[in-house]
Symmetry: C2
Subunit: 339 residues, 2 copies
């Protein structure tokens, strides 16, 4: 398939490289009744085809289009903290592909992905936000559905201090192969690999694969409460934390209003949540927590400070519509992350 | 040129029909320095070609895409007040055209426009919002640049109690012809014609044409402070008001933080502005004032109440990013407009 790999500054530093689905979000206010009518499970992410996308879009209200994608959102957050970040994903040479690439570059994230000149259009995620600020997502992967090993340039991966991968990739075998390729290239170059579990339903769909990866290849794991419970098939958070710290060097579990807990084989650090009045849209909360945490980690800060940066970034993004920061996160956090 | 006129409910009531440019906005935060670098005059609307659009877009930050267009925004506001509204404009059968049409229909505005299957793509407006919440607009008209007399269906116009036209149409002769056709069809059917002057720079470019129209064909004129001064080539608001009330049955002049003044040959009504803490983006303020005012007018309310509805709608839209209401305006105003 003819396409170009457009890595702009082949020698520039990459502190964090994100690998994930390249999606433009279409966000609309909705109601619980509409979710029910459309047969959606609130808070979940469903993979949909073009036909379903057309019918969901027709039933949705007026939309706002904003670049999204879980790992790409995290890279946007990192750039806002002043961290050198890059993103590897796959779009088409169409309107949404241009928007996606423009929006990354406009905020200083290096585009290290592929632009296909044929095949399905750039992917989109239809997001219905209910009055409780919860988001329900319907993803048409489009060009991203063909993201595979051939899109992963080991040179780019080798330039990154941390390679960050989204669990959503696990919904497709080719993307799993891309994940494996990126993770192997990172370890070959002596780099660290981070993974976010992304979605508890996605974890359930691929539990064994996730467990295998977390226990053999992942250096830094991001998860929320439901995802870590799903990974270990338990309803006891303490038991899940004990499991993960026995197998993974560093795990971060976000707990919504209760903040987050960070565990290593030797340590457990609790981080309180930032208080937010008037939560508007929880889209991107986990992505931005990961951005803040990684910003601190890559600059060598203590785990408690990494956690604080995570809560600052998450609090900002849930206070407005859209999955990426609207202010300078380094300034919001009281300065750029530095030891 | 092959295209379809898709009027969905040929017998349904239209209280207000908007005629204008069909545009999707790309909104981005910017700075005064960027405006200067790009050679833009703050607060103005510039017509740009595809090449200039590419260079401005490349220089802009991360964007948010939302349906816009001055008259279309006003129709969206009217729908939010529960008024039966429709919009006549011109898009291409492309991604942004689908977005534009979807967003109107999703909020209950009848699409009475044309969808071209060839020619330039759907128009877009690149909007740079500075920290003072002022918006500077760069419009690539695209498919809208071919809006003309042939797009105006006299049957649709005849169904509307008020036909509302945006002054931006005056930048092109074919669109002027569309305006003339719509206005003639409305008057033939015993309907009223409303016009918004849209932009003081646009008024300066076409002063004589505007003056001629306002004095011979317009029943309801919307303007802001700068536009009415430009129309009458004066720097004295009282003089401009005296001129307009001598020639036009009803004129509404918005005055920003000072509210608005409504004049008829016999009356002058002052309306205070709604207090807004934290203005985010003034895009659409005038459009939404017109929506509130027309909502009251078409339901036969007193001019002071029409003005109050205008200020309620304008205050809502400047409190968030984007040119259309995000809440139910009828509820915000204390109930649907009724005498």
């Amino acid at each position: 398939m003819p396409e170009q790999n457009r890595t702009r500054n082949p020698s520039a530093r990459i502190e964090v490289l994100g690998v994930g689905n390249a999606l433009v979000d279409v966000i609309s206010s909705s109601t619980d009744a509409t979710l029910t009518e459309l047969g959606m499970v609130k808070g979940s992410m469903d993979l949909i085809d073009e036909e379903r996308m057309a019918s969901v879009y027709a039933a949705m209200g007026q939309g706002t289009e904003l670049s999204g994608g879980s790992a790409a959102n995290t890279m946007a957050g990192l750039a806002s903290f002043g961290i050198d970040s890059a993103f590897l994903g796959r779009v088409r040479d169409d309107f949404l592909g241009d928007v996606f690439e423009h929006d990354l570059e406009a905020i200083g994230v290096e585009w290290a992905g592929s632009v296909a000149s044929e095949g399905p259009p750039t992917g989109a995620c239809l997001i219905l936000v209910t009055p409780d600020a919860e988001r329900t997502m319907n993803t048409y992967l489009g060009a991203s559905s063909l993201l595979g090993e051939h899109d992963v340039d080991p040179t780019v991966v080798g330039r990154a201090e941390i390679v960050y991968l989204e669990g959503y990739l696990f919904d497709r075998d080719e993307a799993k192969a891309a994940y494996a390729a990126a993770s192997a290239a990172a370890h070959d170059a002596g780099r660290r690999v981070a993974l976010t579990l992304s979605d508890s339903f996605c974890v359930v769909r691929h539990r064994a694969d996730f467990a295998d990866l977390v226990h053999s290849h992942v250096d830094i794991l991001f998860s929320n409460h439901d995802e870590i419970l799903a990974l270990y098939e338990t309803d006891d958070l303490a038991a899940a934390l004990a499991e993960v710290r026995a197998h993974c060097p560093l795990a971060v579990v976000t707990l919504g209003e209760s903040g987050a807990v960070i565990v290593t084989p030797d340590e457990e650090v609790r981080v309180p949540a930032e208080r937010v009045d008037g939560v508007v849209d929880t889209t991107g909360a986990g992505d931005q927590f990961a951005a803040g945490f990684l910003a601190g980690l890559v600059r060598g800060l203590p785990l408690s400070e990494c956690g604080r940066l995570g809560t600052v970034a998450a609090a900002e993004v849930i206070s407005h519509l859209g999955p990426r920061p609207q202010v300078d996160l380094a300034r919001l956090a009281g300065g750029p992350p530095a030891p």
